[in-house]
Amino acid sequence: MSNGTSGLYFTFKPENAAFKAKVEELSGENIDLCFQCGACSSGCPLTGEMDLLPSTVIRYAQLGMKEVLESKTPWICITCFNCEIRCPRGIDIANVMEAIRETVLRTKYDKFTLDELTPEELRELPQIAIISNQRKLTA
């Protein structure tokens, strides 16, 4: 019997239920449908940069574990919807990623600020790039 050194024993508490409900509400997805087949992860073009696989992020969401809010993965996600077309249960994983991003962004946190860009970059980048980046990464 582990003394809490690994995450093997997990109790689903009310705060986990609340977080899970929030993710489901924001994404509009029924994440309980996921049976961890991994098809989404196999199609995702950016798993090389991620710390958690997309299917793992869904697992965290199913368990209502708020640690997923600290993962890099939702910010690496480029919302390309490759996961959506592959999911055999019809879940739009990109929606779930956005729900996690929104949960963080709505705490007055911006993942990206315009100050990070140099004047040269602002001159070079087309509007479409700057606008879409901000829609996904800022509040």
Partner: protein, 228 residues
């Protein structure tokens, strides 16, 4: 002699209730009720943008923007003055700029956050289509942005309300500057007139005017012909 008794209305200025004559502007009503303006008052003619104010009328949730020197009070008005809206003064050298979308993005990159919600237009006391000129700037349409923002007096109400934290009046000003410099170009007739003045073509007329007495000067002024 009968005293002209104007109808009185009830207003609240920054939370405090006052009874004021119904035909006064917000600015006059505030002075009537004992406020002394140290900030938030300027030309008193609807042109300088110093007296930006926000108000709600009893029974309506709508938050409205107005110029205190122009807007007549209404019964049940709840008023607050916005004497200043915080904005960085971004400096640029107009002669080094190009009239395109990326110029706006370089100095005011936050225009890329515009949601097209139209809140700025709703706040504007000059009835300017603020959202449209911000969008025109985002598209690089300098001429349209300049045309639409022409009446802007930089009162700041749009900037205070914008959810994307844009300062529209600064964007409009850049658009008008770029438009004048690069799209319209130098005003030939003004330059020509300056040349004429420097060549002394008007010296004799000016000397004559300087020697006239006040009465004749006034007559001359009142009967002048204005060519449009």
């Amino acid at each position: 002699m009968e005293e002209n008794e104007s109808e009185m209305v009830t207003i609240h200025v920054m939370g405090k209730k006052h009874e004021v004559p119904a035909d006064l502007t917000i600015m006059k009503a505030m002075e009537y009720s004992g406020h002394q303006f140290r900030r938030g008052a300027g030309c008193r003619g609807g042109y300088c943008g110093a007296c930006a104010a926000m108000y709600r009328v009893k029974g309506s949730y709508k938050l409205q923007g107005a110029l205190a020197c122009q807007k007549i009070v209404e019964d049940g008005m709840y008023i607050a003055q916005i004497p200043f809206s915080p904005a960085e003064k971004i400096t640029y050298d107009l002669s080094e700029l190009r009239p395109d979308a990326n110029t706006f993005l370089e100095y005011y990159p936050e225009i890329s956050r515009c949601l097209s919600c139209n809140t700025c237009t709703k706040a504007c006391p000059q009835d300017i289509e603020v959202m449209d000129y911000v969008q025109a700037s985002l598209r690089g349409d300098v001429e349209e942005a300049a045309r639409l923002s022409f009446d802007c007096i930089s009162c700041g109400l749009c900037a205070v309300r914008c959810p994307a934290e844009i300062v529209p009046y600064n964007v409009g000003q850049l658009a008008r500057r770029l438009n004048s410099r690069y799209v319209i170009g130098p005003t030939e007739h003004v330059l020509k007139r300056v040349e004429e003045v420097e060549a002394g073509e008007f010296d004799a007329d000016i000397d004559e005017l300087k020697r006239l007495d006040r009465k004749t000067l006034q007559e001359r002024y009142e009967s002048r012909e204005v060519k449009l």
